[in-house]
């Protein structure tokens, strides 16, 4: 059966999801993206579109240190396979975040978030080119302890994906996370990202595109998963694991529901 993860930023601190899901049964719980310093990011605004959520993202997060003191201990104590999503303004900045995480007990791995919309305006390293992506991955690998796995999240830019995915695979990581939210705008024009079932067909295409470029590389699909059928479609496209994000906001029991649907029909 295809492994299920909680997508970055969609599981709260873990505690809030616990009433609805067996977190220890999860292949991975990915945190919201952490940066070295806290990012206030204005108020995170989330609006509805048909079948989707439009989120004026800005990587709002409490900073890696507060995560380590306020959130990771609980996750570790419960035995949750926790992946810290990380980003930074430069490869060195990213490495600094990873260095903080490297010695924390209870972490399963790092998800390097290169699926960033408009990196420049967010003061983030641009990992959307083969070269920018490879640099960031190399910086992380240089300091990553053996006990932590590395996933690299690449987004769903179908035209650029093959080259970027290949560049990252050549530097090396444990899996690529493919799909995610799409560049979008709120009705008032604010730059934002679209996620939820609306994006599923685009994420499937992204996974399929990378699978064609890298026939053997482990892929994690993300984008729009809400049912067991969606999980199977990602499996057919070439993903070995799938992340569930926005669906949890709509139905906090989605993981349990999908798992039992998958078990019934397998």
């Amino acid at each position: 059966m295809i492994a299920l993860h909680v997508a970055a930023g969609c599981g709260g601190t873990g505690r809030e999801l616990a009433p609805y899901a067996d977190l220890t049964a999860l292949a991975g719980f990915v945190t919201r993206t952490l940066t070295l310093d806290p990012r206030r990011g204005g108020r995170l605004r989330i609006a509805e579109s048909r079948g989707g959520l439009v989120r004026a993202h800005q990587l709002q997060n409490p900073g890696v240190d507060r995560f380590l003191t306020a959130e990771l201990p609980w996750l570790a104590q419960q035995g949750v396979a926790t992946w810290a999503s990380v980003a930074g303004s430069s490869p060195a900045d990213i490495a600094a975040v990873v260095r903080r995480l490297a010695t924390a007990p209870g972490l399963s791995g790092i998800e390097l978030n290169l699926a960033v919309d408009d990196a420049a305006s967010q003061r983030l390293h641009d990992g959307s080119t083969p070269r920018g992506a490879a640099e960031a991955v190399r910086a992380v690998l240089d300091i990553l302890p053996d006990n932590l796995a590395l996933h690299v999240k690449l987004g769903a830019d179908v035209r650029r994906l093959p080259a970027v995915a290949r560049a990252v695979a050549e530097v090396g990581c444990d899996a690529l996370v493919i799909g995610g939210a799409l560049p979008a705008a709120l009705d008032n024009g604010t730059p934002a990202e679209l996620s939820g079932p609306a994006v599923l067909p685009v994420a499937l295409r992204a996974v399929r595109t990378v699978r064609a470029e890298l026939p053997e590389f482990p892929l994690v699909g993300v984008g729009g998963v809400a049912t067991a059928a969606d999980v199977r479609a990602f499996g057919a496209a070439g993903a070995g694991a799938v992340q569930v994000g926005s669906a949890l906001l709509h139905d906090p029991s989605a993981l349990a529901r999908i798992t039992s649907e998958l078990e019934e029909q397998s």
Binding site: G12, P19, R40, I46, L53, S246, L249, D251, S253
Partner: protein
């Protein structure tokens, strides 16, 4: 313990400007405490509707032992997409319900006089609180407000348990003409309240927090900011609040609130 269930519409009736909706919701509301809310997904339960964001509703009343198991009463403004949908559901319709959610009102350790300030549908959050306070021997005074008479939630149960009920409306159609901010100082003096509980629009809560502080009363406000999920998962309901550590944090209204001490909120940043 918070839970998710398919509730069922038992009763739905229009009272003034709002629809009062009673849902049979076993397993979801038994552990309810005043100030909690519930969260509703639009459309038939299951992944079919085009609306993904849940909607939050204050709990007006919980009856744990009706003949059909536990029920919960909501007061719904039938305006937007979600409100119209919920208010329009025929009896028997299934509703995806999560609850109880959020931190409840903190209740005073001693039997002190309390002033409960509610505007519009949000006043619903104060009725179960009043019941508990009265049980604990606190003298309870109500200040109820609305733009117009039909938006003031009916005070039948209130008059039974409360020491006094003051009503103000913006158009003067019920009670005195005026706003909460105008009526609050007098109400504070008359009630001699040392704790003020408030639910209503943010601007009203802001005024309540300020005026209460000036009068030396604690305030607890039930804050409504847009809650995309209501369950603490999305970090989309951030409120800037000063913690017990005197440091400003960005906390989630649904998980760390929705009830806050009025003096903890950084109102200017909201």
């Amino acid at each position: 313990m918070t839970g998710q269930a398919t509730a069922e519409v038992r009763v739905s009736e229009r009272v003034g400007a709002f629809q009062h909706v009673t849902l049979a919701a076993p397993g979801v509301v038994e552990t309810f405490r005043p100030g909690n809310f519930v969260s509703v997904a639009l459309g038939s339960p299951g992944p079919g509707d085009a609306h993904l964001l849940r909607r939050s509703y204050w709990v007006h009343r919980v009856r744990a032992s009706s003949t059909h198991g536990a029920t919960v009463d909501l007061v719904v403004r039938p305006d937007g997409v979600g409100g119209q949908w919920l208010a329009g559901l025929p009896v028997g319709s299934p509703v995806d319900l999560v609850g109880p959610l959020g931190r409840p009102f903190a209740q005073p350790k001693e039997a002190v006089p309390c002033l409960l300030v509610g505007e519009g549908y949000a006043a619903s959050a104060l009725f179960p609180l009043a019941e508990r306070l009265v049980e604990r021997g606190c003298p309870v005074t109500f200040l109820l407000a609305g733009d117009t008479a039909s938006e003031v939630i009916d005070g039948l149960d209130v008059r039974r348990s409360a020491r006094a009920v003051t009503v103000v409306t913006a158009d003067g159609s019920m009670g005195a003409q005026g706003s909460v901010a105008q009526a609050l100082p007098g109400a504070l003096q008359r009630s001699e309240a040392s704790v003020v509980y408030a639910a209503g629009p943010t601007s009203t809560l802001h005024a309540v927090a300020g005026i209460s502080e000036q009068h030396g009363a604690w305030s607890q406000v039930a804050l409504e900011v847009p809650q995309p999920c209501g369950t603490g998962l999305c970090h989309g309901c951030i409120v800037p609040a000063v913690g017990e550590d005197a440091i400003a944090h960005r906390v989630r209204a649904c998980a760390e609130g929705p009830v806050f001490r009025g003096d903890r909120i950084q109102w200017g940043l909201l």
